[in-house]
Symmetry: C2
Subunit: 218 residues, 2 copies
């Protein structure tokens, strides 16, 4: 079965891109510009697709900015908070319903291409803080996607029971060049090393025992 992947250019989805490409299970990578501050991740997405010979479909949905309201990820006047993800500062990094929007578009693409699946890189570390990363949400959405077309499209989330360190380990096995992936929400010249997603990234390499090629600003 060939699938469409939601591909951000971040660490998790790049490992998934490599995994599916190595299994010859990829029809197309769909990357979405939703007005994210760190849109530079999309350049990394393009480069990885080029390297692997995967069709790269960049979709400009930056007009969704008028939908999302006050998320620091899409509103340049709100600062991205430093520190670990926690109830207090995570609200600012929530882009409302982002996963459903991206998955619904990728599912549409799978329907148009006649593919059997839609894949995304949700992992167990996402669960606790983002409601639209929980297995419950994904299960309900999988059901809706399966009912949305004459043909049954499957929602694939192979990392759902893995932690980020497991993903780093898998990526190392698959030969992922991690320096060609982008995580930092601030979208600066280097990874800031201080925002929650930089902390998670750093920690994952340490836990995995895999050398971290990322250059952090601090």
């Amino acid at each position: 079965m060939r699938s469409v992947i939601i591909y951000s250019g971040g660490l998790d989805s790049t490992v998934l891109l490599y995994k599916l490409a190595s299994e010859n299970a990829l029809a197309e990578a769909v990357s979405i510009n939703y007005g994210q501050r760190h849109a530079k991740e999309l350049e990394f997405a393009f480069q990885n697709c080029k390297k692997l010979g995967v069709k790269f479909n960049l979709i400009d949905l930056s007009s969704l900015n008028s939908v999302f309201g006050n998320s620091a990820l899409t509103n340049q006047s709100i600062e991205v908070p430093d520190g670990e993800y926690a109830r207090g500062n995570i609200a600012l990094t929530v882009v409302p319903n982002r996963n459903m929007i991206m998955l619904s578009i990728a599912a549409a693409r799978a329907m148009a291409l006649g593919c059997g699946g839609v894949a995304y890189a949700a992992h167990s570390g996402d669960h606790a803080l983002y409601p639209d990363c929980t297995p419950e949400f994904a299960g309900a959405l999988a059901k809706a996607i399966a009912l949305a077309d004459e043909r049954k499209i499957e929602l694939l989330r192979p990392f759902i029971n893995m932690g980020k360190a497991d993903i780093v380990k898998l990526g190392a096995e698959l030969g992922v060049d991690f320096s060609g992936t982008w995580s930092c929400y601030k979208g600066g010249k280097l990874h800031c090393g201080k925002c929650s997603t930089c902390r998670e990234r750093r920690q994952a390499f340490i836990e995995a025992g895999v050398p971290d090629p990322t250059e952090y600003a601090s």
Copy 2:
């Protein structure tokens, strides 16, 4: 509870707009340009919102054209078929996963605004031919939407057990000016009168016993 409505400017969603506005239950109308051939419906949407004093949020997603592939509704090189909806010609008027995409965006907007619901005008006549208009699909998606945010957003579909003629009757009671609504998929100067959606529109007025102010080309 106030809701965000998915509002196309068509007959069904205009009646829903009037209904929710009369109940003081509307926060905002979200209208989406997804590259539809009949984008002139959006002008009707704007006018009706203006008339009722409802906030109109037009979102330009015309770049989704690169997602949808061969639908006559978004691909200008494919002709919209005439005649009644049936298995043979309906495939051409399917925009893959359109409902899920639009509802996911409206749900995001409801989350950003702190609203309790998302409303759309699916009715019983849609069920048989479009998989993403069935109660089963809507039920699964409602569950996903309720799980996608800390606050539970409700998916409202008050017309789900009504036929199009019932909607026309309700619209007449609510004082809807039906000449200010657009149905025809061809998006010409007048309603063509021949495509499947024009036929349904015409038939609904006859069944409802409500005068049809629509000027049809044939």
